[in-house]
Symmetry: C2
Subunit: 216 residues, 2 copies
Amino acid sequence: MKGREFKDAMYDGLAKLLKALSNPYRLEIIEMLSQGEKSVEGIVQTTTLTFANASQHLQVLKNNNIVKARKEKQYVFYSIINDEFLSLYQHVIKYAVQEIAELEKTLNRQREDNNASNAVSLDELETMLQNKDVLLMDVRPAFEFEFGHITGAMSVPMNEMMSKLKSFSKDKEIIAYCRGPFCVLADEAVRILSEQGYSIRRLDEGYPEWKIKNLN
Amino acid sequence: MKGREFKDAMYDGLAKLLKALSNPYRLEIIEMLSQGEKSVEGIVQTTTLTFANASQHLQVLKNNNIVKARKEKQYVFYSIINDEFLSLYQHVIKYAVQEIAELEKTLNRQREDNNASNAVSLDELETMLQNKDVLLMDVRPAFEFEFGHITGAMSVPMNEMMSKLKSFSKDKEIIAYCRGPFCVLADEAVRILSEQGYSIRRLDEGYPEWKIKNLN
DNA sequence: CAAGTATTCAATAGATATATTGAATACTTG
DNA sequence: CAAGTATTCAATATATCTATTGAATACTTG
């Protein structure tokens, strides 16, 4: 293989991977699958996609070594192919949020609207958990919590929030987290609970970031 | 802004960034600019692109916060926007080469064809430079060397290789490097010099990887 | 094996990306 | 200011991507 052919082959392959990532719905699917495996139906429920369309996007991701599929009964369960990809994806998110002014602004406005500007980083959370008596609250749906969650967290899905609300002490500081920096569940939790007089902040990141950080 | 709107805005923005990266020629441009700033003409010379086409690709990169432009006299000099992006780009390359079977295979075959399979990593290079008397050879064009190079390297551009060849000792181990893992100059250097009986290996990475690694 | 369900396939129309061409702009230098 | 040069713009044809639709497949369960 000549030098030019080799370079073309490498850059074509690389561009193919990045093309598979360059669609907003596929990115949303990746966020969902970062929480644990999900069937096509599971994806359809949490996005605005139709069944056939979700299936096609999932196949693009599968054909480009981003997700893998496992069949069980009638269901096909998709999941992120490996932790290396998850780590790369998080690097992309982090770069975009920190270096692209437009996205940084949108994120900040969203947090301000929900009184969630004073987000806690994963590093801060770690020292807080060691030194203080904080309530770490996982506000994702229960089955995502079951697939995996931050050590020491309590599962309080958003739909159960109001009924469980009374059982929380207003003296204890609460940290809410969900799927990642783009997940709005934690923002909503902050808005609702701070309106009720609780001391609550959100985690800047989410469960997948914690998982990658604690792999060693 | 509603939760759905916020997510759409974030994922659209993210997809836009990734779309800008999802083209093989733009990736090659990024590799070239990783060596230091270059005019449009500089890009045209080292790729197969026409002037107008290169200019358009550069503008896509500029509009997506990947490169920045500086005007001097009639020339417009483009460069990578910041080290954070360079670091992200290198993460993508590393993932692709290690986790995508097709790319890994293509890279390995290229190295085998040039007797360059026994590449040295940046970590290995560091200990080698401390313990042995090795000749570190930068085989990129001279002006790229001048923009920046690995500490202790000697500039031996490929077009001067044959004339300078006589001055190298066959007893000393040689490590050749160029622009990065995809750069073929180092492979060619290995093939040529090993045929001449020299003890030579290539660096797995290139100058930009060394630069990011040594930022602190 | 019939009915039901989850998923995928195939075809298509509309949207977006890309390379090419020739012209326009902006700047420098004499 | 005229001529030359580097770069960008504008228009366009082709290729690729995407969502939608309706049907096909594969599997389970009664």
